[in-house]
C-alpha cells in the first residue's frame, strides 16, 4: 500500500509538472492582458509537432538531411529550436488576431472567442495539412528505468519534474527581479503607467507571449517525449484542464499556476488511486469547486477589492 502510494506521488509529480508548465503560459498572458488564451493548449500541440519535425530532421529521418546527430546533441538543439519556433507561433497569433482587436477596444471576451477560433484553426489546419495519421515521436534519449524496490522511475520522469521546477524558478525570477518582468506585473494594474517606465506596452506584451509560448514549446517537447503519440487534438483536453489549474491557483500569479498544476495532478492521480477510477472527473472537479468556494479567487489570487 505504501509502495503504491509512493509510486503514485511520483506519477502525480510528473503529471502535475505538465499541468504546471501549461498553466504557467495561461497565467503569464492572463496576468498581463486579462486574456484567457484558449489557443494555448493548441500552441502546446504545435510545439510538439515542431519538435517532432526538428527531431526527425536531426536524427536523420529525412533523406535531404541524412546526417544523424547523436541523441543528446539533437535533443538540446531540438529544445532550443522548438522553443524559438513555438514562440514565433504565439507571437504571430497575438500580432495577427489579438492585437488588432485590442486596438479596436473590443470587449475582452471577444478576444477570448478569437483565441478559441485560433485554436480550432491550429487543430484543423494541422489535420488538413498532415492528414489524420498520428505521429510517433522519436526516442531521442535511451530510456532508463530505475527500480528502487517496487518503485519505478524513469530518467524522463525526473527530467520533466526538474524542468517544471526550473521553469518556475526562472519565471519567478524574471517577473520579480527584472525590469521587464516588473513592467509585466505593472501593466495589469495600470496600462498607462508602464510607458512611463520607458518600456512600450507592445514590447511587454510581445515579451509575455514569447515567454508563454516558449514554455508551451518546452511543454510540448517534454509531453511528446513522455507520451510519444502526437495528434492534432492532443492539446485540447490538457489545455482546458491546465486553465482550470491556473485559476485554482489564482490566475495571474506564477506561484498560483505552479501550485495549481501540481494540485490538479495530485488530485487526479490520487482519486484514481484510492477511489473507483470512473469517478475521477467527478471527484477531482468537486474538490476544485470546494477549493474555489473556500477561496473564491484561488489559492494565491488576491481578492480584487473594488474601491467604492
Amino acid at each position: 500500500m505504501l509502495q503504491t502510494f509512493v509510486q503514485n506521488i511520483l506519477n502525480a509529480l510528473q503529471w502535475g509538472s505538465f499541468y504546471s508548465l501549461i498553466a504557467l503560459g495561461y497565467t503569464l498572458v492572463y496576468g498581463v492582458l486579462l486574456l484567457i488564451n484558449f489557443a494555448h493548449g493548441d500552441v502546446v500541440m504545435v510545439g510538439a509537432y515542431i519538435a517532432f519535425f526538428i527531431a526527425s530532421l536531426l536524427l536523420g529521418h529525412y533523406s535531404f538531411f541524412p546526417h544523424a546527430l547523436p541523441g543528446g546533441v539533437a535533443l538540446v538543439l531540438t529544445i532550443i529550436l522548438t522553443m524559438i519556433l513555438t514562440a514565433a507561433v504565439g507571437v504571430s497569433l497575438e500580432r495577427i488576431a489579438y492585437r488588432p482587436l485590442r486596438r479596436k477596444g473590443a470587449h475582452r471576451l471577444y478576444v477570448v472567442i478569437t483565441a478559441l477560433m485560433c485554436g480550432l484553426i491550429l487543430e484543423n489546419g494541422n489535420l488538413a495539412l498532415l492528414g489524420a495519421s498520428r505521429k510517433k515521436f522519436p526516442e531521442m534519449v535511451d530510456k532508463v528505468v530505475y527500480n528502487l524496490g517496487p518503485i519505478s522511475v524513469t530518467n524522463l520522469k525526473i527530467a520533466v519534474i526538474l524542468a517544471a521546477l526550473l521553469v518556475f524558478i526562472l519565471l519567478q525570477f524574471i517577473v520579480t527581479r527584472t525590469k521587464i518582468g516588473m513592467a509585466m506585473r505593472a501593466i495589469s494594474y495600470d496600462k498607462f503607467a508602464v510607458p512611463l517606465m520607458g518600456i512600450p506596452i507592445d514590447t511587454v506584451i510581445v515579451f509575455t507571449f514569447i515567454l508563454g509560448s516558449s514554455m508551451a514549446g518546452l511543454a510540448g517537447i517534454l509531453f511528446a517525449l513522455s507520451y510519444p503519440i502526437l495528434d492534432p487534438y492532443m492539446g485540447l483536453s490538457i489545455g482546458w484542464k491546465a486553465f482550470i489549474a491556473a485559476v485554482v491557483g489564482g490566475i495571474g500569479d506564477i506561484r498560483g499556476a505552479f501550485a495549481g498544476g501540481f494540485i490538479l495532478g495530485f488530485v487526479e492521480i490520487m482519486v484514481v488511486a484510492f477511489f473507483p477510477s470512473s469517478y475521477r472527473d467527478l471527484f477531482s472537479f468537486t474538490i476544485l469547486l470546494l477549493i474555489l468556494t473556500i477561496r473564491p479567487t484561488g489559492l494565491f489570487g488576491v481578492p480584487k477589492t473594488t474601491k467604492i
Binding site: 509502495q3 503504491t4 509510486q7 503514485n8 506519477n11 502525480a12 510528473q14 503529471w15 505538465f18 484543423n124 489535420l127 492528414g131 489524420a132 495519421s133 498520428r134 510517433k136 526516442e139 530510456k143 528505468v145 527500480n147 517496487p150 519505478s152 524513469t154 520522469k157 509531453f223 507520451y227 510519444p228 503519440i229 495528434d231 492534432p232 487534438y233 492532443m234 485540447l236 483536453s237 490538457i238 487526479e268 492521480i269 490520487m270 484514481v272 488511486a273 477510477s277 470512473s278 475521477r280 472527473d281
Partner: protein, 389 residues
C-alpha cells in the same frame, strides 16, 4: 450594417446554389457517413481510402454489372464531424438530397445508433462497418453491420487468455467515455468471473476522454498482481498504456481487442507491443488471396497497411454492391431499388469478405469468425488462432 447583411445573404445564396443538383442516370449513388474531422479523423480517412480504391476498381472496368447493364459508381462522402446530430443531418441529406441507394457508416456507435434510426425510418439500407453497439441494428430491418459484436469477442479473449497465459487473475483498463471499450470490458469481466470465480478480475480501472497519463491506474493494476492486462482500447491509447506500464515495471503480457488492429499501432507503439496478442477481424501478416491483395494494393497506394476499418469498409461496400447485383436490376425508382437491395442484403447466403466469410442473422449482425493474432518481432500481426461462433 445593412451592407454586411446583404453580403451575408449573398454568400449564403451562392453556397446554396453551389450544392450540386441531381446528376444523370446510369449511376449508382452510395453515401458515406464518416468522421473526416472531430475525434477520430483517421477512421474516416481509412474508410474513404478503402472506398476510393474500390470505386476506382469497378469504374475502371466500366462500372458495376447489374443484370444486363453497367452502372458507374458515385460515392458521396459526407463528414459527420464525429457528432451525433451531424450524423443524423448527414443521413437525412444523403437519403433526401442525394437519393443514395444505400449508406455506409457511421463508424462509431455514438453516430451509428441515431443515424440507423433515420435510415430505418426512411427505408434506406445502411451498413455500419465498425459499430459494435447492439442498438445500432436491433429491431431495425434496414440496418446492418460488418463487425462482430462485443458479446462474441469478449469470450474469445477470455478463452484465449486462459489457455495461452494459463491465467487466473485478470486486470482490465478501459475507456470510460468510449461505449465500445466500456461494453467490451464489462462483457469480458462477467465472462472471466463466470469461468474463474468471483474476484478473479483483480483490477477493473478506467480512464477518461482524451487522457494521456495512465500511471495511477497502472500503478493500482500492477499492485494487484494480475496474470495479464486486458486492454479493449483504441490503438493510439494502447501505445501509451503499454509504454507507461513498462515504465512502471510491468513485465507481464497484454491482451487486446479488434480496436488494436491498426497499421499505426506498431509505428506508435514500437517494441513495447511486440509479443502481445489481440483478437481481431483478420490477420494482415500471412494473409492470402483477396485479403493479401487488398492489403498490398492499399499499402502501395496510401503508404500504410490498412487497418480494420479500411478492411471492414471494403467488405461493407462490397456487400452492398453484391446485394445490388443480387437484386437483378435497378428500376430507377429509388424507393423500390432500396427495398430490393435491403431484401438482397438480408438474403445473402455467404459472402467471402477479406475479413472472413460472413452472412447476416435476423438482426442484421454478421455471423463470422474472429482471429487472435500475435505481434511478431517484425511488428507484423501473425495469425495464431481462429474462433468461430
Amino acid at each position: 450594417m445593412k451592407k454586411i447583411f446583404s453580403a451575408f445573404l449573398f454568400l449564403l445564396l451562392t453556397l446554396a446554389l453551389a450544392v450540386p443538383g441531381l446528376a444523370k442516370s446510369k449511376i449508382i449513388r452510395i453515401g458515406f457517413n464518416i468522421p473526416l474531422t472531430g475525434e477520430i479523423p483517421k477512421v474516416g480517412e481509412s474508410s474513404k481510402y478503402a472506398a476510393e480504391m474500390l470505386k476506382a476498381d469497378i469504374n475502371g472496368k466500366g462500372g458495376l454489372q447489374v443484370g444486363s447493364e453497367k452502372y458507374l459508381l458515385e460515392f458521396i462522402y459526407e463528414d459527420n464531424e464525429s457528432k451525433a446530430e451531424s450524423a443524423v443531418a448527414v443521413a437525412q441529406k444523403l437519403i433526401d438530397r442525394n437519393k443514395v441507394l444505400a449508406i455506409i457508416g457511421p463508424n462509431s456507435s455514438k453516430q451509428a445508433v441515431p443515424a440507423g434510426e433515420i435510415a430505418d425510418m426512411n427505408q434506406t439500407p445502411m451498413i455500419s462497418p465498425w459499430s459494435t453497439n447492439p442498438d445500432t441494428t436491433k429491431d431495425r430491418p434496414w440496418v446492418f453491420r460488418a463487425a462482430f459484436l462485443d458479446p462474441f469477442q469478449g469470450p474469445v479473449a477470455v478463452d484465449f487468455a486462459m489457455e495461452q497465459f494459463k491465467a487466473h487473475k485478470a486486470a482490465v483498463l478501459y475507456a470510460l467515455a468510449n461505449d465500445y471499450s466500456k461494453g467490451l470490458a464489462e462483457i469480458f469481466k462477467n465472462d472471466w468471473e463466470k469461468k474463474n470465480g468471483k474476484g478473479s478480475v483483480v483490477a477493473f480501472e478506467s480512464y477518461g476522454d482524451k487522457d494521456q497519463d495512465f500511471s495511477a491506474q497502472l500503478t493500482t493494476i500492477i499492485a494487484a498482481k494480475p496474470d495479464f492486462i486486458f486492454l479493449p482500447n483504441n490503438y493510439n491509447e494502447v501505445a501509451l498504456i503499454v509504454k507507461q506500464a513498462h515504465d512502471l515495471g510491468w513485465k507481464g503480457p497484454f491482451m487486446g481487442s479488434d480496436a488494436w488492429g491498426s497499421a499505426e499501432l506498431m509505428t506508435l507503439c514500437g517494441k513495447d507491443c511486440i509479443g502481445q496478442y489481440f483478437s481481431t477481424h483478420y490477420a494482415a501478416a500471412g494473409a492470402t488471396g483477396a485479403t493479401k491483395e487488398f492489403i498490398d494494393r492499399y499499402q502501395a497506394k496510401y503508404g500504410y497497411v490498412p487497418d480494420d476499418v479500411a478492411a471492414l469498409t471494403w467488405d461493407a461496400t462490397r456487400l452492398v454492391l453484391q446485394a445490388i447485383q443480387d437484386a437483378g436490376k435497378l428500376t430507377g425508382n429509388v424507393r423500390k431499388d432500396r427495398k430490393a437491395i435491403r431484401d438482397a442484403m438480408a438474403n445473402i447466403k455467404s459472402f467471402a469478405g477479406i475479413t472472413g466469410n460472413m452472412k447476416f442473422d435476423d438482426q442484421g449482425d454478421p455471423i463470422k469468425c474472429a482471429v487472435v493474432v500475435r505481434i511478431n518481432d517484425k511488428g507484423e500481426f501473425v495469425f495464431t488462432k481462429s474462433v468461430c461462433p
